[in-house]
Amino acid sequence: MLSIKQLNKTYANGVHALNDVSLEIPNGLFGLLGPNGAGKSSLMRTIATLQEPDSGQIHFKGLDVLQDKEGLRRQLGYLPQDFGVYPKVCAEDLLHHFAVLKGIGIKSERKEQVESLLRQTNLWEARKRGLGTYSGGMRQRFGIAQALLGSPKLVIVDEPTAGLDPDERNRFLNLLAEIGEQVVVILSTHIVEDVTDLCPRMAMICKGQVLIQGEPQAAIASLKNKVWRKSIQKAALADYQGRFNVLSTRLVAGKPQINVFAETQPEEGFTMVEPDLEDVYFLQLRNSQARQAGASQGAVHVV
């Protein structure tokens, strides 16, 4: 559906934001996972026609996006990571305004869509209020309402759940999942569970490169029997990190508990655990860092 080929972008300050990125994204929710500064936003902005790549191609349903930006914009819904509003304008007015800009030509149709979206995002009661008085969650819902105007075929949402409380976040993701039944939805996030729970497909990127792409479950399955856990003393942490491929460390009741990637039990005291996407994520990051450091360890590629 959306196919990205060999996308490259280097900023004027030398940052290689996109490094030969190629992705195939079908209908449904597509998770884009990566640490801060990985190039997620650059990629999404490029798809959303807001940024020119140095080279590469993007096709959406047969449409050459880089040549016919207008064509893509007609079927695009975009919710940027950090967006603002006009504080003194009310939600309904601004949504109407956006509806025109999105190209909904008929007034009655605009009205119907705006109303429906306001209800769907549960902003109907607050529709007359200035956007400046909205809470973070409401504003985010307004953002999604805006993105859904005009029945987009491609919806791009950049870190939409940052700053939302767990309840709000769940509802938000449900809404996205529902939309994703019919169209392409790209969801960028650095919260691993979001992807695990929702996305049939995903990609991980770091430093502008795609580390893996595919189904989360397949990625998790590839680590089956290879993740080991142990509670250790704080003082020994550095020692462990030096000796094993430590994926993650977390404190459990004040004591560090480490997850280690290994084909066999690394040491006495380690127990095998069920891998999750976070383990995949960290493994990819470690590998990528290791590659950067020059000591290549042979990346694990999953399909």
């Binding site: 695009l76 305004h97 956006f98 190209g103 030509g105 429906s116 769907q120």
Partner: protein, 1194 residues
């Protein structure tokens, strides 16, 4: 602790680019002002040096006011900066004391601002030493005026403005409201200044100015050039008191800031307008899942035009609701009201608020705000989405690039139009409140649209710059650079409108002539610049940035793709239009008309003077008769003249040389030059010398016929006003008739421009003692008195008039003809007028008086008739009979504001008199006065035409002033005359400071208006007072009887003085010398006045007075004189609460008192109220208000 804040903040401030940018911009302004005349910041004029101490102090004072906007940023802004960038919580949670914080910040800001002023001072310092500055106008360098300026203006003003604004910032917590405060403060300051200008309480007027500049200008307003160059005013009571007051206020403000400043989060306090902040929405309801409905995208997509329209509405409404727009509008309206309620006043008398004046006032005091508004909102509109961080959302929507650009352009145009509409509304309200003048809606509409054009074009340019630079501040900077470059270009004499965006020829409006023929040239220039702006807009939409700002390499690539297709076609078409109209304009301005940059014009003038001055005033046959058929074609603006001159050799020698001088730009053909040899023929200057084969014997006559064709083709670059108009043609013989001999009117008068071109000092007039110059009268060397007859034709709907009496009028082939003939010789000074007039007739003892006026201006026609009657009464009884049999007053368009007397014909501008508002009978009736003045010229000018030497305009103008004052005094009484003379005194004292060459004593006046009008009034009124009206009029009558209609050698001011001296008693001869032959000032004042009642009921009065008499030289350097004349001392009684005009004189005497301080005691019968020396201000005294003093009763 405070030092840490100070240090940190100073380092921060000094690293701000804005500080250095503003310092450089202001320093450049200061440099420009001190090295050129193009930028005026209270700079030097006339003989005042560019670096005169007073000029330097004034400039620093002005800059300290201008800098208010910068101080806002560097001092007031520091209080709000922390909460703006969101660091305030961190700072205010540390255990610091707010005093330390505020003092440190304030001092750092103050020091930063001082840095700016040091660069400004450097700019002022080096300006005068630039190579292009006339070194004669540069005095020795001294640091003292700079120290004075810093101590008196810069430091106290920074202190005051800084602490005042800091207080505002600390209490309102909003930078926007601080700016509002600045604007409101400015308005109040300006309005306050305007309204206190006339008040009598000098202390109040001076003290309420927080900047101290008014106290300073009060101390220096009557400085002569010499005084301005020599030094600074002493730190008298006014200046010191003002500075002390406002420094105290400043410290008070600062103390209040220390108390009121709350280091808490902004916005947690209650809202200023009582509107409670709505509680943050807390909505815990779960998402009600409306059934997800797939929306079918409508087959009918929104057209880009609809999108564009919606963006336009959205943006325009956003601007209209925004605070800066409303504030600037309010500011402009207040400024307009202040200016319009004072505007057009003459001698304190208002004018009717006609729509034309409203529009002029709007242009001058209201519209200028638009340049700030369009510049500011161009940035705001372009960056609106990005500032709200919503740009990414919108940029990803299916909108073509041009839609938001066009919408924002339209929004900006809408802003301009809305702003102008507000101005119109204010003007209409003003018209309705003052009343008396019709509201002309159509004219408002046209005038405002014309006024809007440059601002719209500038606004579009600002938008485009914002798009190209993609950086708001660089965009603003480029706009400022554009404006500065326009000034610089005009300094360098690059003044063609074709390359100075968005230049157009001027398009003046007159009630008589409407926008006249100016519309055409203006329209083409507007079309030209519209094409230009359109090209910029097409390019801007190609370079429109979507999403993240791209590198230029990418923007170019994208732009080039954008420009393929329709927008490329549009670009080419508008380029063709641009070049096409440009070529057409060039053809009109430079091929059909001559275009010379102003410096080239001066070069030409200099060349003419160098080549042909040798022929000045050489003997030449003089014109004795003129007959002319003049056809005026108003609609095509053509005039053709078929003329006939009779020349006579009035010298004792034979003459065979004719020096013909014609205007090289119009076609003049001599039809019957007798056989001759061409000695010189200069086509460039139209100067030709021929030697006649047959010389002209003494008294011999020569008849010359000629035709002149004046055609106005196309349009010109400047749109300068013209004498040939669609309605309201007015030209005199000087303009189009051929002349003889060198034309000294071409000579450059400006000393610096002369020096640049190697010309000597300007000679305005030959010396009074130059006997040879008495061969010619002041109206020119070509003729003495001439016989005059003319036939004029004009279009059917107009009347045409020239001096003489109407012999016959008829119509032929759709044109009207008028034949005028004068029955006795007149000066070689006559005019032709043609317009659509109404005519009102009156008479004086059967002698017809006719007023030709525009139907809109019937207001004062009866006053003019009445004034004419009263003038004829006085002049013909006191002087000599009126030599003509008719008086005609004719209105002409307001392109010039004067009235001028020709034989029996007085053109009178629609700008003065015709629209004076005389409904308040307390006001000075200057319509009556101007009419009487012009009528007096029928004697002084048309009977007495003095020799063209020094003092000639005293014979003409000062005597006309005197005559008119006498008529006015008869009608309105002495009290009105005192008011009138106060204005004359003020204008004399003020204008002499800007003398370009030398101030002359009255009897040597060299056509200097402040002398022959203003000082002339004062001198003759005092003379009348000293020697009496009857003896003076007797002298004038005898003078007229002896010298009227005399030929060469013409009379001079010396002759007049001898007639006056003959009538004056011996003890007034010294006074006459002082009045006419010297420049004398008095400094008389009452320093103390007390009274005590005696047991017998009478009152003993003791007064301390100070008398001084000074004599000034031509540059204004003064030397003391012995106080050698009696002084009038008077005591007045006044009923409690009564006004000055109701006072009674208890005692009055002229007595001889010594100069300096002295004590006078006397006794009066009743309780005195006030006393004075020279209590009616008849003497030329720079401070007239201290001549009287209220008596304190012991």
């Amino acid at each position: 602790m405070w030092f840490e804040f100070f240090k940190f903040d100073l380092r921060y401030q000094l690293r701000q680019p804005l500080l250095w940018v503003s310092a450089l911009v202001l320093a450049a302004m200061a440099f420009g002002a001190s090295s050129t005349d193009a930028i005026q910041v209270g700079g030097s004029i006339g003989n005042i040096n560019r670096n005169a101490p007073v000029v330097i102090a004034q400039m620093l004072g002005s800059f300290s006011i201008i800098s208010m906007f910068i101080v806002t940023i560097f001092i007031a802004g520091t209080v709000l900066r922390d909460s703006d960038i969101g660091i305030s919580d961190m700072i205010f949670s540390t255990p610091m004391r707010k005093q330390d914080y505020l003092i440190g910040r304030f001092l750092a800001g103050l020091l930063a601002c001082l840095t700016i002023f040091i660069t400004i001072a450097l700019g002022i310092m080096i300006g005068p030493y630039m190579p292009w500055v006339d070194s004669a106008k540069v005095g020795p360098f001294s640091l003292q005026p700079f120290l004075f300026g810093f101590a008196i203006f810069v430091l106290p003003n920074l202190l005051f403005i800084g602490s005042f604004l800091m207080l505002l910032a600390a209490t309102t917590r909003s930078m926007m409201l601080v700016y509002v405060g600045v604007l409101v403060f400015f308005v109040l300051w300006g309005v306050g200044g305007a309204f206190t200008r006339d008040i009598s309480n000098e202390w109040l007027a001076v003290l309420i100015d927080p900047f101290g500049t008014r106290a300073f200008s009060r101390a220096t307003r009557y400085f002569s050039a010499a005084e301005s160059n020599a030094g600074l005013p002493s730190l008298n009571g006014f200046i010191l008191a003002n500075r002390a007051l406002w420094t105290t206020v400043a410290l008070g403000c600062f103390a209040a800031t220390l108390i009121l400043f709350k280091p808490q989060r902004a916005g947690t306090a209650r809202s200023l307008f009582g509107r409670k902040n709505k509680p943050q929405a807390s909505d815990s309801a779960s998402l009600i899942r409306a059934q997800a409905r797939p929306y079918a995208v409508s087959s009918k997509a929104a057209s880009p035009i609809l999108q564009c329209w919606k963006i336009f509405c959205f943006d325009a409404i956003g601007v209209f609701k925004s605070v800066p727009f409303l504030v600037m509008m309010l500011f402009a309206i207040l400024n307009f009201v202040a200016s319009v309620s004072m505007g057009g006043r003459l001698y304190g008398t208002d004018v009717y608020p006609v729509t034309r004046l409203m529009l002029e006032n709007l242009t001058g005091s209201f519209n200028f705000m638009l340049i700030i508004i369009v510049t500011f909102y161009a940035g705001e509109l372009i960056f609106k989405e990005r500032q709200a961080k919503i740009a990414d959302v919108i940029d990803a929507m299916p909108i073509p690039n041009w839609a938001p650009l066009v919408a924002k352009s339209m929004a900006l145009v809408g802003v301009v139009l809305a702003f102008l509409s507000a101005g119109i509304l204010a003007a209409i309200c003003f018209q309705l409140i003052r009343g008396g003048a019709p509201v002309e809606l159509g004219l408002y509409l046209k005038g405002s649209l014309i006024g809007a054009v440059p601002f719209i074009l500038m606004g579009l340019c600002a938008l485009v710059l914002q798009v190209f630079t993609n950086n708001k501040f660089i965009g603003y900077l480029l706009m400022i650079l554009l404006m500065v470059s326009q000034i610089v270009m005009s300094i360098l004499h690059y003044d063609h409108n074709l390359y100075s965006f968005p230049g157009t020829p001027s398009i003046p409006y007159s009630d008589m002539n409407g926008f006249g023929h100016f519309v055409k040239g203006w329209s083409f220039f507007v079309l030209y610049w519209s094409f230009f702006s359109f090209i910029l807009l097409v390019l801007a939409q190609a370079f429109w940035v979507r999403g993240l700002s791209q590198e230029w390499r990418v923007r170019w690539r994208l732009a080039l793709t954008q420009l393929k297709g329709p927008s490329g076609l549009l670009l080419s078409l508008s380029l063709i239009g641009f070049v096409g109209t440009g070529a057409w304009i060039f053809y009109n301005t430079n091929v059909l008309n001559h275009y010379l940059p102003s410096n080239k014009t001066l070069d030409r003038q200099a060349l003419y003077e160098k080549q042909y001055r040798q022929y000045k005033d050489l003997p030449h046959p003089k014109i004795t008769d003129i007959r002319a058929d003049v056809d005026i074609f108003p609609e095509s603006r053509q005039v053709s003249i078929k003329g006939h001159y009779v020349l006579q050799n009035k010298s004792a020698d034979v003459q065979d040389i004719l020096r013909l001088q014609v205007d090289p730009d119009i076609e003049t053909i001599w039809l019957n030059l007798p056989s001759h040899k061409v000695v010189l023929d200069d086509q460039t200057f139209g100067f030709k010398i021929i030697q006649l084969t047959q010389a002209l014997a003494p008294q011999g006559r020569l008849e010359l016929d000629f035709t002149v064709n004046i055609k106005r083709l196309g349009f010109t670059n400047s749109g300068a006003t013209d004498s040939i108009n669609l309605n309201g043609t007015f030209f005199n013989n000087g303009a189009f008739f051929p002349h003889f001999g060198y034309n000294s009117g071409v000579e450059i008068q400006d000393r610096s421009e002369r020096r640049k071109r190697g010309l000597g000092e300007p000679e305005r007039m030959p010396k009074l003692e130059d006997e040879a110059a008495r061969a010619f009268n002041t109206f020119g060397s070509e003729a003495d008195w001439i016989n005059f007859e003319t036939t004029i034709s004009t279009s059917q709907d107009q009347i045409a008039i020239a001096p003489g009496y109407l012999q016959k009028t008829w119509e032929d082939q759709g044109r009207r003809y008028f034949h005028y003939k004068m029955d006795k010789p007149i000066l070689n000074f006559f005019a032709y007028l043609s317009a659509r007039w109404e005519v009102k007739k009156g008479d004086w003892k059967g002698l017809p008086i006719e007023i030709y006026y525009d139907k809109k201006h019937a207001y004062n026609v009866d006053r003019m008739i009445y004034g004419t009657q009263k003038s004829l009464d006085y002049y013909s009884s006191q002087f000599t009979p009126y030599q003509f049999q008719q008086v005609r007053i004719l209105e002409f368009p307001s392109y010039q504001s004067f009235a001028q007397s020709f034989a029996n014909t007085i053109p009178y501008s629609e700008g003065i008199g015709f629209i004076a508002d005389l409904r308040d009978t307390e006001d000075v009736d200057y319509v009556f006065y101007v009419t009487a003045h012009e009528m007096a010229h029928q004697w002084w000018g048309h009977q007495i035409a003095g020799a063209g030497v020094q003092g000639s305009t005293m014979l003409i103008e000062s005597l006309a002033q005197y005559s008119a004052m006498m008529v006015m005094e008869k009608e309105y009484g002495r009290d009105k005359m005192r008011r009138f003379l106060r204005y004359e005194l003020d204008r004399y004292l003020r204008d002499r400071g800007s003398e370009q060459i030398e101030e002359q004593p009255l009897f040597r006046v060299e056509n200097q208006q402040y002398i022959h009008y203003r000082k002339g009034s004062l001198v003759f009124y005092r003379l009348r007072d000293e020697i009496g009206e009857e003896p003076l009029n007797r002298a004038l009558k005898r003078y007229l009887q002896d010298k009227a209609f005399e030929e060469a050698p013409y009379t001079t001011s010396k002759d007049l003085l001898s007639y006056i001296r003959a009538e004056a008693p011996a003890d007034k001869q010294g006074l006459i010398t002082d009045l006419f032959e010297k420049i004398v000032f008095y400094d008389n004042r009452v320093t103390d006045a007390t009274a005590k009642q005696r047991p017998d009921g009478q009152w003993d009065i003791t007064m301390k007075i100070h008398l001084a008499k000074l004599e000034a030289d031509s540059k204004g350097t003064e030397s003391p004189r012995l106080y050698d004349e009696p002084i009038e001392i008077a005591v007045f009684a006044r009923v409690p609460g009564a006004k000055e005009k109701d006072e009674r004189v208890l005692w009055s005497e002229k007595r001889q008192q010594p100069g300096g301080d002295s004590i006078v005691t006397l006794t009066v019968k009743e309780k005195p109220f006030e006393l004075g020396v020279d209590p009616y201000n008849k003497m030329i005294d720079r401070v007239s208000s201290d001549n009287r003093k209220e008596i304190s009763i012991e």
